[in-house]
């Protein structure tokens, strides 16, 4: 056993493995069984085995809408951070400006602020009597206030902003590892700037695009604080729904079933992207 630990390198991994087992797998091992137990009003987790929570989730349109909305939100936030983040990351990776390290700090800076503070910042901007609406109506561009909060737009704006730094940081390191002479080789071989970008730079940054997308997607579908504050009490996503099941309704079995579904989705996405990455020969 000891020799196997030495030779396989698992010995070195063991501290982080222990942490993962304790903090991630153990709650899951608790969650999954609970999700198959009946809910007894007033008592909580009942005795016996039932699949009703899963059946209910996939047959109730209210739940399905929230599920679909969460996945859609994840996909759009990922796309937005990618579209906004790639040019920014490309610039940061390639600029020779002496301001580069300051610009990088500027990108990371939002991460240093408390999440709640940042979200309240967005509320101040997006609310019906917030900065954006007040300015626009003062200029005379709009009649009544635009609904920017407690809906999809609000969540999209807030989450894109919050997760952008993760995307940018992963993309910067991916773009930086691209050998410049490979791009120069493409140019000398007759590729225009745009051809070089599409045929060389972009394919070679797929590892960064993939890892950034996975991270942002998973973080978005599991984000709680921002959707709660910007979505309000009625506009729900999966995480706020689960929170409500556990904390307000005390329906632990149903909350567990929903949490299990969300976890399975996240793991499936990660597994699929891994296969996708291998197919495209990302090193």
């Amino acid at each position: 056993m000891m020799r196997w630990l030495d030779r396989s390198g698992f010995g070195l991994l063991s501290p982080s493995l222990m942490l993962l087992l304790g903090a991630f797998l153990a709650p899951l091992a608790f969650l999954v069984p609970v999700s198959f137990r009946p809910y007894v009003p007033g008592r909580g987790i009942g005795e016996g085995f039932t699949g009703e929570h899963y059946v209910r989730f996939f047959t109730d349109l209210y739940y399905l809408e929230i599920f679909g909305r969460t996945i859609l939100l994840g996909a759009i936030v990922t796309t937005m951070t990618l579209l906004v983040g790639y040019p920014l990351a490309y610039f940061l990776a390639r600029t020779k400006s002496r301001w580069r390290s300051w610009l990088t700090i500027l990108v990371v800076f939002p991460l240093l602020l408390n999440l709640v503070v940042r979200t309240f910042g967005w509320i101040a901007l997006l609310a019906n009597r917030g900065l954006i609406n007040e300015t626009l109506s003062a200029v005379g561009l709009i009649e009544g206030p635009l609904r920017l909060m407690f809906n999809f737009t609000g969540l999209l704006i807030g989450l894109t902003h919050i997760f952008l730094p993760f995307m940018v940081l992963l993309l910067v390191s991916a773009i930086q590892t691209i050998d410049r002479s490979v791009e120069e080789a493409a140019r000398v071989l007759g590729a225009s700037w745009s051809e070089t970008f599409l045929k060389v730079t972009l394919p070679l940054s797929t590892p960064g695009i993939l890892s950034g997308s996975i991270l942002v997607f998973v973080l978005t579908i599991s984000a709680l604080v921002t959707p709660r504050l910007l979505g309000g009490p009625t506009y729900k996503v999966m995480s706020t729904l689960i929170y409500e099941q556990f904390m307000s309704l005390l329906n632990w079995p149903r909350g567990s079933a929903m949490a299990t579904i969300l976890t399975v989705v996240a793991i499936a996405i990660i597994a699929l992207s891994g296969r996708f990455a291998r197919r495209f020969g990302a090193q």
């Binding site: 490979v182 080789a185 000398v188």
Partner: protein, 366 residues
Amino acid sequence: MSQGSSGELELRGLRKAYGSFNAVDGVDLRVREGEFVSLLGPSGCGKTTILRMVAGLIEPDSGQILLGGDDITRRAVHRRNVGLVFQSYALFPHLNVFENVAFGLRRRRVEGAELKTRVERFLGLVQLDRHGARYPRELSGGQQQRVALARALVTRPGLLLLDEPLSNLDALLRDEMRLELKRLQEELGTTTVFVTHDQAEALTLSDRIAVLSQGRIEQFDTPENVYGRPSTAFVAGFVGRPNLLEATVTGQSASSLLMRTAGGQDLAAATDARFSQGARVVVALRPERLRLSAKKDPEIANSVPVTVVFRAFSGASVQYVVGVNGGTEVQVEVPASAAIFQRGDALQLEIAAEDVIVLPSNRASP
């Protein structure tokens, strides 16, 4: 694509400065069609900068680059139709060997059967016919090098630029690739500029060599002349590993020059170079032109008594370090078949007057 711009390369007054550092300081060079020219010099002499300016990857501050008579100084990189092989090979890691070679052809809208034929022909030329489906990371260094070469040549560029392409290979493979490179270049007749800091490579491969120092061309001549008749002390010192001695001119006739070295030895050189009486010169003595013998040969112009300080055997030859009476140490290379001397042996060091190379001193004459 400008397929017409092939052949002769001409550089006129090419300059590039980085801040106050003159990387390339007024270079004029004319490479004939089909010629193999090396830019030889130590690192930082500007040779790679010249190459990258010709490729279009660096913009010159001033001067002109002409390829086949066309001024390409301001032409965009991707319209120059030159081939470039990088020191790091710079293969596309996400494309297989076939697609790496096909890249330039696809950019020129070559497709289908013609594309396949041309790529396969060039893969055959570099003996990689069966490796088309492999990825660069699955190839050895030498194979990667050959892919890079095929990729640069398949578009039939008017000019092939090589940036130290052999320096990442181990010694044995380097010799092999050197011959293969020369064979391929002669077969295709592509005008080639080869950048290197390795004098042996430059000497074996080139039709002519431009020796560079501090952004300027010191000498541009055939390998034989660069080696045998260096025009400056820098060239003499960089090509080969000669003994360099300082000397003062003591007299001269129509075809010979008499000098006294700093160590006090008299030397005669057969040269028609003119120096004034008392001028300070640098004498270059090639180790392989020096001879050691047990007794003095009256036929030889220059002969000095010496003692063997050190001896090292290196296969084909034996290297000696001998001490001249004045204390100066001189390196001598003798074929291994010659007589073997021991440390401490008292001998005569001889060199023919024709083999003594006299160069103006770098320092200003008093």
